[in-house]
């Protein structure tokens, strides 16, 4: 069985193998990932407060589908396939807007923000046309941590188990993510990175810290223990709070103090960094005074858009407190990581990477990600022969 092979280290070796290079370059693998992972699981797509008032909408691509996300008047945030039910034209043809209704520009089929077909030329003489049946096709929406989460699956996986459960189990009972009050934080900075690398390279990079001492000088200065190569994420999905250095005052680019700590964090969380991956496309990083959330949007087998938000207490943003040093630290980490991923991507199609690469012991937990990936695709994935 292919998945078992992934488990087994070469006898007498410290190294586990990775999938082979074509797992990161083959468009048909990417298509299967779109279908089996991104179009079935829960995707964190945007901040709730980016749709502030009724009628505001944005379009977003999930897997191979374009989705309209809109704030309705009375039913909160809803989302639909951006496909007119009449002849299929894109209903919304720019990235965002604010309208009283959603109207297709082709034949003027017009939909309420709640999705029902409300008007169309000659519709009054077609009384048999059901306004709900011919409404925009809805997708499943949840809101959590101040974000809009969407699943395109007809029968989506349990949000409680696959998202809440994953986050809460990993943060543990004591170091609960609830302490950070993420849903009440405000976005102080958001940066979008257009990364020319496969999304799995970005996840693998985020899961390990074997690279930290080499490419993240500022981060390793703030968290000296990262020089041991062990990341916040460990085997069996455990999360280790990584301690700040003794002379470090805050999670900033120069170790200077940040802003005041989030009010409800536990004593054990007050000088630590935690990081988790919420598969398939979210990273959550917490430090005492802010939270950093990454959302990934795979575009192709060799391109991924990553949006990174820095979240602070509302008064920090409203009073214009200094956050530049805090933002700069992880912005540099992002640039350093994504550059490494971009320098890795071209090698994935090299003959020299035919049989894949290796995971050292401090990276062995990435195997759990590879097993999960292979299982989601139903096996039959490229691994070393």
């Amino acid at each position: 069985m292919i998945i078992d092979q992934l488990n087994e280290p070469v006898p007498g070796s410290s190294l586990l193998s990775t999938p082979t290079g074509d797992a990161y370059t083959d468009p048909t693998i990417f298509e299967r990932e779109q279908a089996e992972i991104f179009e079935k699981m829960w995707n964190c797509v945007m901040r709730e407060d980016s749709l502030a008032t009724a009628g505001e909408w944005k379009t977003i691509t999930i897997g191979r589908e374009e989705i309209i996300v809109v704030r309705t008047r009375k039913s909160g945030i809803r989302a639909y396939y951006n496909v007119c039910r009449h002849r299929g034209m894109r209903v919304c043809t720019s990235g965002e807007g604010k309208n009283k209704t959603l109207q297709c520009g082709y034949h003027a089929w017009t939909y309420a923000l709640e999705g029902d077909l409300v008007a169309a030329p000659n519709l009054t003489s077609m009384p048999d046309v059901d306004r709900k049946e011919y409404g925009l096709k809805p997708v499943h929406v949840r809101t959590w941590l101040g974000y809009v989460w969407i699943s395109l699956a007809d029968d989506p996986p349990s949000f409680d188990e696959t998202v809440l459960g994953e986050v809460k189990t990993r943060f543990g009972d004591v170091e609960s993510i609830d302490n950070y009050g993420v849903e009440n934080l405000k976005c102080g900075e958001s940066k979008t990175y257009d990364v020319q690398a496969n999304w799995k390279l970005i996840i693998e990079n985020f899961m390990e810290c074997y690279h930290c001492a080499t490419i993240h000088p500022e981060l390793t200065e703030v968290i000296p223990e990262f020089a041991d190569g062990l990341a916040s994420q460990r085997k069996n999905g455990e999360v280790h709070g990584a301690s700040f250095g003794d002379d470090i005052q805050g999670f900033t680019v120069d170790g200077s103090s940040g802003v005041s700590s989030l009010p409800a964090i536990a004593p054990g969380q007050d000088r630590k960094y935690y990081a988790i991956t919420v598969k398939p496309q979210v990273f959550i990083n917490t430090v005492p005074d802010h939270v950093i959330i990454h959302r990934m949007f795979p575009v192709s087998e060799s391109r991924t858009i990553v949006v990174c938000d820095w979240l602070f207490q509302p008064q920090v943003i409203d009073e214009g407190m200094e956050i530049a040093n805090s933002v700069e630290l992880f912005h540099r980490v992002n640039q350093q990581d994504f550059e490494a991923c971009e320098q890795t991507q071209p090698s994935m199609s090299s003959k020299a990477y035919d049989h894949g690469g290796a995971l050292v012991p401090s990276e062995h937990h990435i195997e759990e990600f590879h097993q999960w990936w292979a299982a989601r695709l139903g096996g039959n994935v490229p691994v070393p022969a």
Binding site: K100, Q103, T110, V118, A119, A120, P121, N122, L123, T124
Partner: protein, 98 residues
Amino acid sequence: MRIDSVNPPIAVFLTDEGDVHAIDDTCTHQDASLAAGWVEDCRVECPLHESTFSLLTGEVDQPPAKRGVRVHEVELEGDDVLVELSDKAPQLPPGVTL
């Protein structure tokens, strides 16, 4: 709301200010129900192409509609809305006949 027991159908509106108005329901540009439109400042915007009609006079503000709609007289009797239909000729869009 659209009342189609009369021909041509009429639209009866209750505005945010609490007033009741009745006009012809069909936009004069293309067959669309004004009852599905957006009411603001005593005007209704056609749901299809954004011409707006006054609920007081029936006049239209901007193309593509060029002709106004008829306004019908409204009386309130307790909870009942009584409408006296206009005796003017309706302005119907192409393809819509009585």
